[in-house]
Symmetry: C2
Subunit: 254 residues, 2 copies
């Protein structure tokens, strides 16, 4: 199976895609826009994360294109300590600034010198003697480098969510929608959300985004915890307030 995804090889996006698809033929793209424009039908990209951003691009491009979300993949971000050297020989630690910031405890305990790289995957490619990298386990595997220790990040739980577009159907428990209000007035969002509240639907995510038609014009991206008849009724209700686009019904795959 061929899948377009945000590259480069060995990033957490790659690891999440392998978790979901198993063996697959990757079509690595360098931006989220290129993933959307790829001729490869099945697509994979981050939608909410702390590492590397991406959520705004994904949401803006979902709004404009005719793709269907078919699954949500949640990946806990565990940084592996990757090195040819033993723990006591390491003097320098390389990684993306955010991965370094998320692993302060182990770094200060060993008094390692920090070197920033553009991506966690690149850090692994650049390891020299006496150096280590913080990156995904898949990056160690691809570069045939040993993992000294797994999950070395500070305790705080850090997960990233990804979407599969145009993939195999999954059980349907959630839905993503774009709400485009027909006007801008105080309380309009409150009125639109009454459609979800009235049909007893919980929202797990909401985000406003500029339409780019002009400053101060917004649309809303929401994730609803329903994909049944209640959702249909909520959409009917929402359509009395503006244009509604159903981006897909799907379930979360851990």
């Amino acid at each position: 199976m061929r899948v377009a995804l945000l590259g480069p090889e060995g990033t957490y996006t790659h690891q999440a895609a392998e978790k979901y698809f198993g063996e697959f033929e990757p079509d690595f793209c360098s931006t989220i826009r290129e993933v959307f424009e790829s001729e490869t039908d099945t697509k994979f990209m981050p939608v909410e994360n702390s590492l590397g951003g991406g959520v705004s691009d994904t949401i803006d491009l979902l709004r404009k294109n005719g793709n269907k979300i078919t699954a949500e993949v949640v990946l806990p971000i565990n940084h592996a300590l990757i090195s040819n050297s033993g723990l006591e020989e390491i003097e320098t630690i390389k990684s993306h600034p955010q991965a370094l910031a998320q692993s302060e405890e182990i770094i200060s305990e060993h008094e390692w010198e920090k070197v920033e790289t553009d991506s966690t995957a690149k850090a692994v490619q650049e390891i020299q003697e006496g150096e280590a990298a913080l990156a995904s386990e898949i990056a160690a595997e691809i570069n045939e480098m040993p993992i000294v220790q797994t999950a070395v990040q500070d305790t705080e739980t850090n997960t990233t969510r990804f979407f599969v577009l145009n993939g195999e159907p999954e059980p349907q428990e959630k839905a993503s929608l774009i709400l485009e209000p027909g006007e801008d007035r105080p309380g309009l969002l409150h009125s639109m959300l009454s459609c979800f509240a009235g049909h007893q639907i919980n929202l797990s995510h909401i985000q406003s985004r500029p339409t780019k038609k002009g400053l101060g014009e917004y649309f809303f991206y929401v994730e609803a915890e329903a994909a049944d008849e209640r959702l249909e009724k909520a959409v009917q209700c929402l359509e009395t307030y503006g244009d509604i686009k159903l981006l897909g019904k799907y379930s979360e795959v851990e």
Copy 2:
């Protein structure tokens, strides 16, 4: 005046800071977290943009720290074409992938070869003969490179918003708040937003973010178009539903 801001030198964040502060002594930090941790009291960082992300980090760190938002700066993102060569001698164009994607028209018109760099500022530093970079005007100035043409991006309006923290007081027209619901039930967000709707306050931005205490626990970041008595009443109303943190009252500086 000393200001901590997201670096490197010559990016759009630098340009926006210069627009607001005029002459200032920059303390460049390599991540948004480092800006928050800097001993420099006045801080400056992106809060909503399409170039380079950053919004999630800014919002998560505003929630945890005791900083006050004192101004919002809006910068239209105009890519300048920077080169030692004349328009007809240029063969290669260098920039961040998003800047290249936003300037497709001029690139395909001249059939330039695209080369991706990690930042728009870096593209300017790396210009060779027959090459040009897409970057901010301030990057051209810093590197003493000529601007061949200003605002070469495709027509779509692209703006980035920035926050000044702990700066000089400005007129107060807007407010940013963190809403932490006391429980998770269908309709709770709708109920909380009734406090704004009931007091005739428009929201210009809303975003849910995971609390990181556990999957599925969210807080909300909202921007309200009021900073007067109505806001005080809305906050009183909101406090009946959960914990509320007022991040600052400020106005937008164009």
